[in-house]
Homo-oligomer: 329 residues x 2
Amino acid sequence: MRTIDWVDGAVEIIDQTALPEHTRVLRLSTVDELVDAIRRLAVRGAPALGVAGALGVALAARQYPDQARLAAAVEAVRTARPTAVNLARGANRAAARLARGRDAVLAEALRVRDEEIARSAAQARLGADLVTELCGPAPRLLTHCNTGALAAVVGGTALSVVAELHRRGALRGVVASETRPLLQGARLTAWELRQLGVPFQLAVDSAGPFLMARGEVDAVILGADRICANGDVVNKVGTYAHALGAARAGIPFLVVAPESTVDTATAEGAAVPIEDRGRDEVLHFHGARTAPDGVDAVNPAFDVTPHDLVTAIVTDQRVIRLDKGDALA
Amino acid sequence: MRTIDWVDGAVEIIDQTALPEHTRVLRLSTVDELVDAIRRLAVRGAPALGVAGALGVALAARQYPDQARLAAAVEAVRTARPTAVNLARGANRAAARLARGRDAVLAEALRVRDEEIARSAAQARLGADLVTELCGPAPRLLTHCNTGALAAVVGGTALSVVAELHRRGALRGVVASETRPLLQGARLTAWELRQLGVPFQLAVDSAGPFLMARGEVDAVILGADRICANGDVVNKVGTYAHALGAARAGIPFLVVAPESTVDTATAEGAAVPIEDRGRDEVLHFHGARTAPDGVDAVNPAFDVTPHDLVTAIVTDQRVIRLDKGDALA
């Protein structure tokens, strides 16, 4: 089952706000519906957002014959969320074909989709080889947020490495951090790990560095929403704290993401716009209030992990050992 | 209003599991009731636990004329939770008077209570002076868990410093981390900060280090459940991650706790038993599930912050500048 796909003239996604309780497919026939789904994280994850961006432009090309309205719709797709580079990049790739007509746009969008599918398997192989090289035959890995099939089209990024290690019999277990505020770890990663049959425990986000200090984690492995030219990694908030914990514990900190997430046009993490998703996500917890009425909150959805804390970046094409001085460009 | 007190022959506490929705006083007339209240965190916070331990022994002295049952009851109080040194220490102080009769036991327990009350004001003054010295006249502070009046009898530890700075007009604002799994920050600290009129924002726990890296926090200030001879600080899980963030950002990391929390008999943090409170706290909140059925979780309630990450420890009697080589003993 694909997280996102083009089916009979519309975009279909698995609604990630309904998981794990309900596996519900949403059919998105208009740009407005797609942009709304992106904003409320019904579809999320950098690779999946790249496909959503491209398919969103394909939708726009069918919906708006008028050039001005088409341009506005493409811009709405491109900017639905600001942080992951994949969304704008996927939209741009499809939009570059607009002059050739809507079928050319759709063909390019489907190429974006198919490339992400192919990339997942390549990342899984390269990442699993690296984990075994660094951690031996039975590592315990900590992962953050959701980087599995639900974050891509199939397979995933960091979680595809976990799955590959499990298939090889080369994984002892996983700690999945719950990933507040929206609990992508507790809801989505737990759901995927159970389907994969991988032994795992959930932990609150703030426990990760301590579990590393106690010697209960052999490496951290997670995804990225944007990787800058200098190797800075922009990813789900909490990534940076885990990187600090890994550095202090002396264990590898591994980032797995497709080449479509590498943004050498952005020099460093400080240049990336960090989405603040507002206080409501912090003040509610799965439908329950967490704090008294009227309380304010700061809610950066992402953070920046400086490149010196990153051991290696694994893409579908290469392993960049930042710890050994490898450069991205 | 006192968080915990002795009223007409029984222990009365504000039920912290009911806040902020309900301000409910629980009357605990038996050792079993008190131990249960401690275990489910209806009363919590290192200073309050010290008083609970002492008053628990006073309850036991009234309830059990039989020596063997009395000894068992005292032991149940002393070991109701393992990590905060205050609980056992308060119980031990009261128990040392058992041979002199129940009135002597109660008198000692009330001294423990009164000492904690006096300590809060002293910590507030010393801590506020130090924050102003280190951070200037309008700092933005990040705090974790709840260290206010609810964690003590009145006033509190780190949050009493916040309150004192606010009274002095020497505080710009506070970031309060929500403190999963039981949300003592979102529920209790937010409630206290609003009553104090302190401007603040909530944040998920994993955002703290990034907010520091972005320059939005001038110092971290929080409490302790046990401070070891070498300066290692055992405190609510998440403390260590915030300490790593503060060190990387180059901002002060300040621990405020009464002398009753200093345990020079324990050499270092690795020697302290860390309570694991089980998976249910991670998998539930306010009746809502966070993860699919049957998922396992690891749930250390505390972590250990190595002394080299601690700028200073403020007690009711002194400021120990670990960053300048001061020693505790």
